[in-house]
């Protein structure tokens, strides 16, 4: 049984054009996405801004209510849970946010931030046990337990992200949705956090849904990678095969656009024309066809289904081989 299984998930946001007018249009932020995640696995989720990757991550944790579709966590449907049941489920399902500055309460010390999670789920039966547990968690993420008394502004960006990770770990989750956890950090600190997440996964048997736009980082940390474009999954395969042999033209362009350090690299860059279209009125047929270098006539009409083009390699493109 998969740890997480998402079936045909839809998240649509209504767009209203005034206070009293009824919403007639919808932003299809997540449009019919299915995925599954095994225990101890990392699934990378890549895409450009506005492709719906964050919305998908939040809908899975139910910070955003899905419009339709189902999310099964350990076989249990969680889209219909409420109250105490939902809270109990959430213990197994945590999230780390992008902005380590914005996601920590500036008026709480690091110890209080981590301790709040312990209190809500009643994981410590005495004040002593609670203190010990906070110290353990801070140590696990590479902070000095003495730092429990400090406020977020006294930490550097990397250390703040460590507090966010400690808070997520406090309730012993099985799955952590990491929403761009290293994007806001300096290059030299990014590697520290990626290594930390990797070590914690080994030690605690965590599964990650790792959302990022940096393909190199995603490839490094993930076993499988899912590529999104305009709310839809366009490609899904093992991390190495997505990067080395991408099947979808969008993924090919995305990978070729990543600047590489190696000055002798002979890569041919595919520069896509134009911008990502508005998800309110996505193009007909294949949503990528207006920017696609190889689009044909039928791409304008028929929506390509996600199909297995090679063993274990899925792509949503009429022309993928």
């Amino acid at each position: 049984m998969s740890l997480l299984e998402v079936r045909n998930l839809l998240v649509h946001f209504p767009v209203s054009h005034g206070l009293f007018s009824r919403a007639r249009q919808f932003v299809k932020a997540v449009d019919d996405v299915s995925l599954h995640l095994e225990p101890r696995e990392t699934l990378g989720l890549v895409g450009e801004s506005g492709c719906g990757k964050t919305t998908l991550g939040r809908a899975i944790v139910r910070l955003i209510e899905p419009t339709a579709g189902s999310v099964l966590f350990e076989g249990e449907e969680i889209t219909r849970l409420a109250g105490a049941q939902l809270r109990a489920r959430r213990r197994k399902l945590q999230m780390i946010f992008q902005d380590p500055y914005g996601s920590l309460n500036p008026r709480m010390t690091a110890g209080e931030i981590v301790g709040e999670a312990i209190d809500i789920h009643k994981l410590a039966d005495s004040a002593e046990a609670r203190r010990k547990r906070i110290a353990e968690l801070l140590k696990a993420v590479g902070l000095d337990p003495m730092h429990a008394l400090r406020y977020p502004h006294e930490f550097s960006g990397g250390q703040r992200q460590r507090i966010g990770i400690a808070r997520a770990l406090a309730v012993e989750p099985k799955l952590i949705v990491c929403d761009e956890p290293v994007s806001a950090l300096d290059v030299s600190v990014q590697a520290q956090i990626v290594n930390l997440l990797h070590d914690l996964q080994q030690q605690r048997g965590l599964a990650y849904l790792f959302i990022a736009h940096d393909l190199a980082v995603v490839e490094h940390i993930s076993r499988r990678v899912l590529v999104m474009y305009l709310g839809k999954v366009v490609e899904l395969s093992g991390a190495k095969s997505v990067v080395r042999a991408p099947k979808h033209p969008y993924t090919q362009a995305l990978i070729s656009a990543v600047p590489v350090v190696d000055p002798d690299s002979k890569r041919q860059r595919i520069v896509l024309p134009g911008d990502v279209p508005s998800p309110i009125n996505p193009p007909s047929g294949c949503p990528f066809h207006p920017r696609c270098p190889v689009a044909e006539a039928r791409c304008k009409k028929e929506i390509p289904a996600l199909r297995e083009v090679a063993p274990g390699h899925w792509a949503a493109c009429h022309l993928a081989k």
Binding site: E48, S49, A257, V261, D262, D275
Partner: protein, 340 residues
């Protein structure tokens, strides 16, 4: 003579004992038509160095302690306000990281570009002959406003904005991030600068848009023959666009070299660590080689070499002796006595 020559620039914030030296002994030159990348992490002083080229760091609180900034043959630090106003835009233009924050939200983008044109009374465009044919030049006898409009359209075309006649009536929020950055570049080019300083111009943009933007900068440099100083934290961008690179750490230049040579064979331990800590696309790496510790705060700098607490090759005397920038090979400068 180089277009820009910064010599031993020292810049402090605050005064007396609390003074924080954000830029310490930075020397850098840019030739006409050259692209130089300034690489560093947050707090390394790269933006402040770039802003001081047009003396844009307000003083106070900043204090230019010593050094020289020779732009187009004249020292910026000795210029009067009138002269400064002339070189800002006239010789050097800036493009910043957040295009959304740099554009005025309540004016149409066309008018914002026009404002630059009015301020700088454009000389004849320094375009290549082919461009001159392609882009219709304003004809004699038109009213001033009309001419400005045509110049705005020409600029928007130059930076690759489709249907510029319509776009110039847009407000910034109606444009995507990539389009906003193109407008910023058009505005920077309006005054026909000799040097374009781009401070992390692609950081806020997606990779596919970033690729478009780097292509645009390369193309503009070739067509207009200007120099570019590009500030970035991404070494990938360096490999993509730069002729030469300057690496900064904690307010100092630690390595200066031709871009390809630096990426192939970095000499300073910090540059080496920085290159190693980035995962390569498609590379087999089990574990990232992270640099331990954090970037030092400028008010609590380590003694001796500023990188020594994080340096894997640090020797006993690194914590005492302040290393100087030495030319170890022709055109290769390194601030580390143990670079071998």
């Amino acid at each position: 003579m180089p277009l820009l020559e910064i010599k031993n620039l020292r810049l402090e914030f605050g005064s007396g004992e609390n003074a924080v030296r954000a830029v310490d002994d930075v020397s850098l030159s840019i030739e006409a038509g050259e692209t130089v990348c300034l690489v560093g992490e947050s707090g390394s002083g790269k933006s402040v160095t770039a802003l001081s080229i047009a003396r844009l760091v307000p003083s106070p609180p900043a204090r230019y302690v010593s050094g020289e900034i020779r732009l187009d043959g004249r020292d910026v630090l000795k210029m009067s306000k009138v002269e400064l106003r002339h070189i800002r835009g006239g010789v050097v233009s800036y493009v910043f990281q957040e295009p959304g924050a740099s554009l005025n939200p309540v004016f149409r983008v066309g008018n914002q570009i026009k404002e630059t044109l009015k301020l700088h009374k454009p000389r004849t465009p320094n375009l290549s002959p082919s461009d001159r044919e392609r882009v219709a030049k304003p004809e004699e006898g038109h009213s001033r406003g009309r001419t400005y409009n045509e110049e705005v359209i020409r600029l928007l075309k130059l930076v690759g904005i489709p249907a510029p006649e319509l776009r110039l009536k847009d407000y910034p929020h109606q444009l995507s991030g990539g389009m906003q950055q193109r407008v910023m570049i058009a505005m920077a080019l309006a005054s026909q600068p000799k040097l374009l300083v781009a401070d992390e111009p692609t950081t806020a943009l997606d990779v596919t848009i970033q690729a478009q933007m780097l292509d645009l900068l390369r193309d503009l440099k070739r067509r207009l023959g200007m120099s570019i100083l590009l500030i970035t934290h991404s070494l990938g961008i360096v490999g993509d666009i730069a002729d030469r690179v300057a690496v900064m750490y904690a307010g100092q230049l630690v390595e200066l070299a031709p871009a390809k040579e630096l990426l192939r064979r970095p000499l300073h331990p910090y540059t080496q660590a920085l290159i190693n800590s980035v995962p390569g696309l498609g590379a087999e790496t089990q574990r990232l080689r992270a640099i331990p510790g954090n970037v030092p705060q400028l008010d609590a700098l380590p003694s001796g070499c500023r990188f020594h607490p994080r340096c894997p090759k640090a020797q006993a005397d690194c914590s005492q002796k302040v290393p100087g920038l030495i030319e170890v090979e022709s055109n290769r400068w390194v601030r580390c006595p143990y670079w071998k």
